[in-house]
């Protein structure tokens, strides 16, 4: 392979750094109008009066839309696992079609105006009165109301092997610990924005999205249109991390505003608007209990969780999934619980479940190691399973201990004294911590076409999503290698529902999903071109068998006999040859979905697939003030085959940075009296800044997973897993204090 694995620069790099790349709020339309939201200021209740008089009279205002005058929209469909697009509704609220308020921040009016400033100004002038209902908004207080989470086809909410409680009670050594993690929010650099216009009964939408097909399908339902009447265009997404997977109110209401005014309308949420209308990661309360023999072998592992969901929707996280896979405990019990809250629906955020679940599990494992006087890596080695611990399924591929070994060597792990508080540099206490990273590998159906033209160029058309991770670059590399053409000959068209539906850019699945289809399409194309050549009079390839021919240098050859794709197509009088994966009819689509779902389930019955890794962290903690700084980081990962050495490292590194925020600074503060987020801005919600992040050393083993296309395992989320655990463990090593509540802020260390 000439391109796969190389550190190739992102193809959109120049467009982005020069500003040529257009994001959804940057599409110029003549006659563009601007929309702004008015947010509810109560958690739960009913609107009794909205005074829009002053707003409507403001010069430049085109429309003020409230539940009193909004056109009717269809309700969001009920989520149904067989039609994944029904998952697209972030909440079940029919915005502006109801006088009910379900969360503090829910849009209760939209102002459309000639300019953004006028729209926002008029939005301030709208006065709303409410009849308030009692509301549950304080997560800590609602713990007792949690109910068991339901399992779905994609994710099981509970599981058991043996009797873990009894084994825990009998264990020679046991720990039974409680952890809490704060709500956090994605804070992508591009706030959610939409530009929408109606061309008759066709709706065109520019929208930063992780799943354009879902946006299309959802809007088609809401506005009662045939699917083909909606087009969603999203070539560039300014970061998403899960926050742009579903359809949030701003998107629906921009389309509504465009319909009401008959003008193209753009809505750019403010940072505050994102906090108020786009969900974040649920807070959690977790219990992890481990029973062990004195040699460290685990006899019991219990991991339970309580998370929140909004009453109008919310993603159910697989917080305990890591405990199904990581340790070979004789008895295991995992169980997830949810409590419904009168808050904005939470949503998926980079490694939903694993990011916070791995914190609790890995901190407990570390504690066990210290209590038993074992090296934390040695303890893990003693509990490394040969098969999936919960159910005995085979691992498709697992080099977790290899990651720990390489990491330990590179990080200088062995040289550290295990005694907490024993390393110091002046006022700084130094600590080293380690944790496992783990994230399941997914693959979904992806449609695409590959076209070879008579000028030798290749066009891949697929509705994949580019949120900055370099997906299109990776796809070009794979296609160039598969067809043996130079990368410069390959173009990828993406981020548009006018292209074949690909798949969600979520669950770290996009590259693997697209790769499978891409390789299939390239093989089809290769056969088609060869057949064409073989049949074309005068072709040097006439009469040869495919096995006699190799693809190289942009053509098909047998030794020196053969010719370029360009010549093959010219000779045959064909402008292009195209191969397609995936149906283009509704029936075919359903058949595809059923086929892929059954393949998926079959696959899941046979294998446990995942990316994993070892996170090594060194912290400095000020002995007097508790200020905690990360001084070194090394992550060694087993992520199957790496397609692009540069973008892969960036993904892993970005995940680690996000994990450091989760561990140390990020916390969405919800007022327990009224459910209002009080720090809805980047000045009060602290993401890590450059000065907080040391050089992050990222390595990977680059060993293909035999059950995944090209050996590719998803890479986008595993980086964030284990990070908070490694930080908490390092903080313990530095200070002797176990902080079991994220984020680890200074006051907790005094």
């Amino acid at each position: 392979m000439r391109y796969v694995g190389q550190p190739i620069d992102r193809l959109d790099g120049v467009a982005k750094t020069t500003g040529a790349a257009r994001f959804s709020a940057e599409y110029p339309y003549p006659n563009l109008a601007y929309a702004a939201l008015v947010h509810a200021t109560i958690a739960r209740g009913r609107i009794t009066r909205i005074d829009t008089g002053t707003a409507r009279k403001t010069p430049g205002v085109l429309a003020v839309i409230t539940h009193g005058n909004a056109p009717e929209m269809k309700p969001a469909p009920k989520p149904n696992q067989f039609d994944m697009s029904t998952l697209a509704a972030a909440t079940s609220v029919n915005y502006l079609n109801t006088d009910e308020v379900y969360w503090n921040g829910q849009p209760v009016a939209v102002v459309v105006a000639e300019t953004l400033d006028v729209a926002r100004e008029a939005a301030y002038l709208i006065e709303v009165e409410y009849a308030e209902y009692p509301a549950a908004v304080d997560f800590a207080a609602e713990e007792g109301n949690a109910r068991p989470q339901k399992s779905t086809m994609l994710s099981e909410a509970d599981g058991r092997k043996g009797d873990a409680e009894a084994a825990l009670a009998d264990a020679p050594f046991a720990l039974d610990l409680r952890y809490t993690t704060a709500q956090v929010n994605h804070n992508a650099i591009e706030p959610h924005s939409t530009t929408a216009y109606w061309d008759g009964d066709h709706l065109i939408l520019h929208e930063g999205s992780q799943n354009v097909a879902w946006v299309r399908d959802h809007l088609a339902i809401r506005f009662d249109l045939p699917k083909q009447n909606v087009r969603v265009i999203s070539p560039f997404v300014g970061g998403a991390f899960g926050g742009k997977s579903f359809v949030w109110p701003g998107t629906v209401l921009t389309a509504l505003a465009a319909k009401v005014t008959g003008r193209p309308v753009r809505m750019m949420l403010t940072r505050e608007g994102v906090f108020r209308t786009v969900g974040g990661r649920t807070p959690s309360i977790q219990r992890v209990a481990i029973g062990a023999q004195l040699d460290g072998s685990m006899t019991a592992l219990i991991h339970t969780s309580v998370c929140q969901v909004g009453r109008t929707g919310g993603w159910s996280e697989q917080v305990t999934s890591v405990s199904r896979h990581l340790y070979d405990a004789a008895n295991i019990q995992v169980q997830q619980n949810l409590v419904g809250m009168d808050l904005l629906a939470n949503t998926i955020m980079r490694a939903p479940g694993e990011s916070i679940g791995s914190f609790a599990l890995e901190a407990t494992v570390d504690e066990l190691a210290y209590e038993l006087g074992l090296d934390p890596i040695e303890l893990r080695a003693r509990n490394e399973p040969a098969r999936n611990p919960l159910d005995g399924k085979a691992f498709s591929h697992r080099l977790l201990m290899e990651c720990f070994e390489e990491g330990a060597k590179e990080f200088g792990w062995a040289g550290r004294p295990q005694e907490p508080g024993s390393m110091r540099d002046g006022r700084w206490l130094i600590g080293m911590g380690v944790a496992a990273a783990y994230h399941p590998a997914w693959r979904f159906p992806a449609n695409l076409t590959v076209r070879l033209s008579d000028d030798g160029t290749v066009l891949i058309r697929c509705g994949l999503h580019e949120m900055g991770m370099g997906s299109a670059t990776a796809v070009s590399q794979i296609a160039a290698d598969a067809l043996c053409v130079p990368m410069a000959a390959v173009t990828v068209a993406y981020g548009d529902t006018a292209l074949p539906d690909t798949t969600t850019a979520g669950a770290s699945s996009q590259t693997a999903s697209v790769t499978a289809s891409l390789l299939a399409a390239c093989a089809k194309l290769d056969r088609a071109v060869f057949t064409l050549a073989r049949k074309t009079p005068g072709s040097p390839l006439r009469g040869l068998r495919r096995a006699d021919v190799t693809a190289r240098d942009g053509g098909l050859y047998n030794g020196s006999r053969g010719e370029s794709y360009h010549d093959i197509l010219r000779r045959a009088g064909r402008a292009s040859v195209e191969a397609r994966v995936g149906a283009d009819t509704r029936l075919g689509e359903i058949a595809d979905q059923v086929r892929s779902m059954s393949k998926f389930l079959l696959d899941r019955r046979r294998w446990v697939k995942a990316a994993c890794g070892a996170q090594f962290c060194e912290v400095l903690v000020d002995s007097d003030t508790g200020e905690t700084r990360i001084s070194r980081w090394l992550g060694v990962f087993d992520v199957g085959r790496v397609v692009n050495a540069k973008t892969a490292a960036s993904q892993l590194r970005g995940g680690i940075v996000m994990g450091i925020g989760l561990a140390l600074t990020e916390e969405t503060l919800v007022d327990p009296r009224n459910g209002r987020i009080v720090n809805a801005s980047l000045s009060e919600y602290h993401v890590p800044v450059h000065a907080d992040i040391p050089v992050i050393d990222v390595r990977y083993l680059d060993d293909p997973d035999p059950t995944m296309p090209l050996g590719v395992v998803g890479i986008g989320e595993v980086g964030v897993t284990g990070v908070a655990g490694a930080v908490a463990n390092a903080v313990f090593h530095a200070t002797g204090k176990r902080i079991r509540d994220l984020p680890i802020t200074l006051d907790k260390l005094l």
Partner: protein, 284 residues
């Protein structure tokens, strides 16, 4: 909103006299944030950036006169050696972009209890040079802060400059934040030793409604230090100094930190900065 752009200091003062409600804007790093967040809508902005006089600093009689338009970046580069405490504080402000635009005068105009320049200005007995068409006056820094985001300027007055005496001894600043940059102080502290008059200056940030000194702590320490013999500060003295500094504060719980944390951290910073300052003074 009117946008006033005087090009001379005299015109600026005249404009302010005529429109006392106008909001001066220098670096804009506070003003623009407030406008964006719609916290108050000024009837007029008075842009001081074109006023050349404000961009200079000068020195006379052991004092530096820092024009209201001198950015943090320039202060660090050009005056860091003579005003170490203020320069240290300036280095912790925001990010390079903010330091390129922001000014000490703007920090004073905003008068936030968390402003980083306040503690070193307090510790070194700075003067705020305020001027209006009625004339000019020097406001001792200790009398400048009146309440949360309120200062002693009259409606028609502008800050012409900040006057700070050359450091006559070691000066240190310490700030605690939740991250390494772009962070509002959880709390901060500055100390200045004035060996010539055997005095100690202090300044506390982010731990009371206004930046303030810790007079009891200053007096105590000035009396305890062995100015001539330069012997080490006894632990007990440092501890007591820390206690008195902490006692001078009246912090609250907020999203950045708890009251108890601030009290604790102030005592730590007081001891710590004293340690650095005394070590420097002893020349070791």
């Amino acid at each position: 909103m009117d946008f006033l752009r005087p090009t001379t200091w005299a015109d600026a003062l005249a404009a302010k006299a005529e429109r006392p409600e106008a909001t001066p804007i220098q670096g804009g790093t506070d003003v623009m944030v407030e406008i964006n967040l719609d916290k108050g809508r000024p009837a007029a902005l008075l842009d001081l950036n074109p006023v050349a006089e404000l961009r200079d600093w000068s020195s006379e009689d052991g004092w530096l006169r820092i024009g209201a338009g001198v950015s943090y970046t320039r202060l660090i580069d050009e005056l860091g050696d003579r005003l170490p405490g203020l320069a240290q504080a300036s280095r912790t402000v925001g990010s390079p972009q903010i330091r390129n635009r922001g000014t000490v005068a703007g920090n004073l105009g905003a008068a936030s209890p968390a402003g980083d320049s306040h503690p070193p200005l307090l510790a070194s007995d700075a003067l705020v040079e305020a001027e209006s068409v009625r004339g000019s006056r020097l406001i001792p820094i200790g009398e400048f802060y009146l309440g949360v985001k309120r200062n002693a300027l009259e409606p028609d007055e502008l800050i012409r400059a900040v006057r700070v005496p050359y450091a006559d001894g070691p000066q240190y600043f310490s700030k605690i934040g939740t991250r390494n940059a772009m962070v509002i102080a959880v709390c901060s502290f500055a100390v200045a030793l004035h060996p010539s008059r055997r005095g100690v200056g202090t300044g506390i940030g982010s731990a009371a409604p206004t930046p303030r000194r810790a007079p009891e702590a200053e007096e105590f320490l000035a009396g305890e230090l062995d100015w001539d013999g330069r012997t080490a500060v006894p632990d007990e003295t440092a501890r007591r100094f820390g206690e008195l500094v902490a006692r001078a504060a009246s912090p609250i719980d907020d999203v950045r930190g708890t009251r108890d944390y601030r009290v604790h951290a102030l005592a730590v910073m007081a001891r710590r900065t004293l340690g650095w300052a005394w070590t420097e003074y002893r020349g070791i």
